[in-house]
Amino acid sequence: MNSSEKRLVEPRDFYFGDGEESALELDCGRKLYGVNLRYETYGRLDASRTNAVLVLHALSGDAHVADYHTMQDRKPGWWDEMVGPGRPIDTEKYFVVCSNVLGGCSGSTGPRSINPQTGKRYNLTFPVITIRDMVRAQKRLMEHLKIDRWLAVIGGSMGGMQALEWAITYPECVRSAVPIATTSQLSPQSIAFDWVGREAIKNDPHWAGGDYEESAPNQGLATARMLAHITYLSDESMKNKFGRELQESEHYSFAFQRDFAVESYLEYQGRRFVERFDADSYFYITRAMDYFDLAARADGNLAAAFRPAQAEFLVVSFSSDWLFPAAQSEAIVRALLRNKLRVTYCEIASGYGHDAFLLEIETLGGMVRDFLRNQLREVHRAG
């Protein structure tokens, strides 16, 4: 694509919660004042306001789901192959909304924002937020955009958690939900990975209890990212991508610098991540995922937790995803069926591991495209 074909999108801000009444009430019992949500929209809301699709991003994503911010940008948004004119989430048919999550570091209010009550950064005094708190903030944005019901809420990984949360917390606002490569409850293994990632940040001398200013704990954050990145790949995809290839030499160095291509790749991923992500945000977002446990709200009964839900679901998992394995999606599907909801479930055969939700665009995209088309058709038929 040459630069003249680049479609541009402008990020917007939605600010709310200055007053006592409008402040955001959180699961932890605290209230958040002066909340900003950074968001982007694509396509046009139709006259009946029924073609709105909410895209929900994962841990390291942001509001920039598609297109470019400037002509100089080298890379488009994080799900550009999925969202755009003629793409599976077709912006010629749907009005697509994506916002940076509460607690994030890409424009929305998070731990590095200024606390309006003190005039200083929150850092670790920022309230610990949950996935449901993120969704509560998105609900405010929905009201601001004067949308009554999403045609679909769609997200992978942590985005899938938000999609499930939407369907339970605001059932009347969700016509359909597409949780992809996700879980209803973070497993102890995933909690463990999150913990080690945060420990790496804590052990960075620049961390300063989260109150870093001039120099951020980038080494710790990069280590956390490298660890997490391993969990997004699969043994198979690493074998295919790197094998035991050496990066710069024909021979082992017989030292501890990076020899292998896979080491070099992880180092690169860590380095790139710290350019766009913040260590304190990493704390808050991973904690929100740790606490995510839908069944816990209904005495461990996941089916009971889904009782309020009304949406039609398309649940997708990937065969080589060992972070949120297919069995966790199947548990969601069983719970949804117990509530007699319309559910479709597919475990897509893929070697890409958890990251498949960003890479298996052809298969996943085909399913999402057809699912959305039928949702819109039914809205028109009913309406």
Partner: protein
Amino acid sequence: MPDELFFGYQVRPDQAVIAEHLEPGSRVLDLGCGDGSFLAYLRELKGIRGMGIEISQSKIAECIAHGVPVIQGNLDAPLTFADDDSFDCVVLSHTLQETRNPDLLLREIARVGRKAVISFLNFGHLSCRLQLLLHGRMPVTGSMPYSWYSTPNIHLGTLKDFRELCAKLQLEILRETPIVHDFSGLANLWPNLFAPSCVFELASGADNHS
């Protein structure tokens, strides 16, 4: 046997008969639903709220295109996605012969459905018997067009065999509808000899799991 087109969906003759057995607006589970066209047909014809079980990823994608809810699943494993008596009717069309454990699957069908409608390919059909008798080879027919070494049909049986299995599993057969082409009179008199397949309606539900 040519498939007929209804509402733009292709429906086999046995499926057309199965459709007659189903109540309008009922909740139907189609095991091995393929591309979902039968469930889409039932939706248009009778307002049936269907759900399919299908193992193939590409078929699931076609079900999604047809707007038919489908769960990826394997009929050789227990139907863990479905609670007891959670469907008004379970449908299995020309599929039992492809499963590893037809008897266990029938038990599962009885568990999750209030009733079942099953179309069964008849290996006791005259043309099968003649091919085996006169040519001494495994029969190849229009509805069983495979060579013996590459067939997915690993558990073929006759209508008589099927009735005996139902009796053994204490599943009451409420109705039998032979699928007939040429010799309709004969097929109705002696289905095991003249009907290439047959649709069975089975009583299932609460009485059978005690």
